[in-house]
Amino acid sequence: MNYFVIVLSAILVNNIVLMKFLGICPFLGVSKKISTAAGMTGAVAFVMVLATIVTYLIQVFILNPLGLAFLQTISFILVIASLVQLVEIILKKVSPALYQALGIFLPLITTNCAILGVAILTIQNEYNLLEGVVFAASNAVGFGLALILFAGMREHLVMMDVPKGLKGTPIALITAGILAMAFMGFSGLV
């Protein structure tokens, strides 16, 4: 498997937010300012890579040998939830500055479907551990790219003269649609 293809495909062609519709809640929820969007991206990137490694090891060394593949959903979500808690506790102790920056976003990540989605996709695509890590990292970059671009657009959108009924979420969704259209230009790249 070509790592370059994985990276390019995850960031641009099959962008996790705009093409695969994973992680839409933070995409709409924390995209009002670029600074919060960047904070969220940092937290997601951190947990996404970590969660993919841990869930991969669980799938390969526990679920597969014991024939418990049907427990995938339950075990993955529990692992991710406890991982998020663990990261929060460790971060608080080790790096208070980083905790300050990412702290409020961490609890939200448990229910971020992008994390569970990437963990499951890594297994479904039959990547090995290194490919999985590259896949998770590039998806995190793709998530950040979409989120920060969208936040930039929304910062400008506030000042626009939008028709009354379309204010807020509707115009944000339509803007996201146009952004997704722009990303469709990348299809066929790999």
Partner: protein, 194 residues
């Protein structure tokens, strides 16, 4: 009357998709056709009703501190059941919904109703609440899927309405999901105010 209110609030007044904006990932991800939307909606409804039922049954047994993890385990159990049943009986639908079936587990509506309603109310009300919210979710997904299918492939529930020569393919592609949902929320807001 009270029970009717709990049941009916999920359709328009507190519609999980159009008003509360919960569960957006499956809403946008699977609604390229009406049948996919309906299938996803009903799968979520089942999980919602069953998890609401179980959560309201065991709510007094669960210590407050491990409340959320316990809810997640309950929800994940029913998601796994749905996953296995759909794989066995409706394999084509299962394939087209793909990743979004296991992702019901992180759908904010399910955990949201367990936490906000079922953990505080009686078994009966929780059942009705789950059913109402689930059907409201299914209604939203089917509507979105139907609009996209009509505009994007000239069909509804696979019944041809007009020739494929006149369709706007964009609406069944990812950008169409965002745009149609944006305008639908606008329309629903107008109706709600009127």
């Amino acid at each position: 009357m009270n029970q009717w209110k709990i049941f009916s609030k999920g359709f328009i007044k507190e519609n999980p998709v159009f008003i509360l904006l919960l569960g957006m990932c499956p809403t946008l991800g699977v609604t390229s056709s009406a049948i996919n939307g309906l299938g996803m909606g009903l799968a979520t409804t089942f999980v919602l009703v069953m998890s609401n039922l179980v959560v309201s049954l065991v709510k007094s047994q669960i210590p407050d501190k491990v409340r959320i993890p316990s809810f997640i385990v309950i929800i994940a159990t029913f998601v796994t059941i749905v996953q296995l049943v759909m794989q066995a009986y409706v394999p084509t639908l299962y394939k087209s919904l793909g990743l979004f079936i296991p992702l019901i587990v992180v759908n904010c509506i399910v955990l949201g109703r367990a936490e906000a309603f079922a953990s505080k109310n009686t078994v009966g009300s929780s059942l009705i609440d789950g059913l109402g919210m689930g059907l409201g979710f299914s209604f939203a997904l089917t509507l979105l899927g139907a609009v996209r299918e009509i505009l994007g492939s000239g069909k509804i529930f696979d019944i041809v309405i007009y020739s494929e020569d006149y369709v706007t393919l964009l609406f069944v592609l990812p950008p169409g999901a965002f745009i149609v949902l944006g305008y639908l929320i606008y329309v629903i807001n107008k109706i709600k105010k009127a």
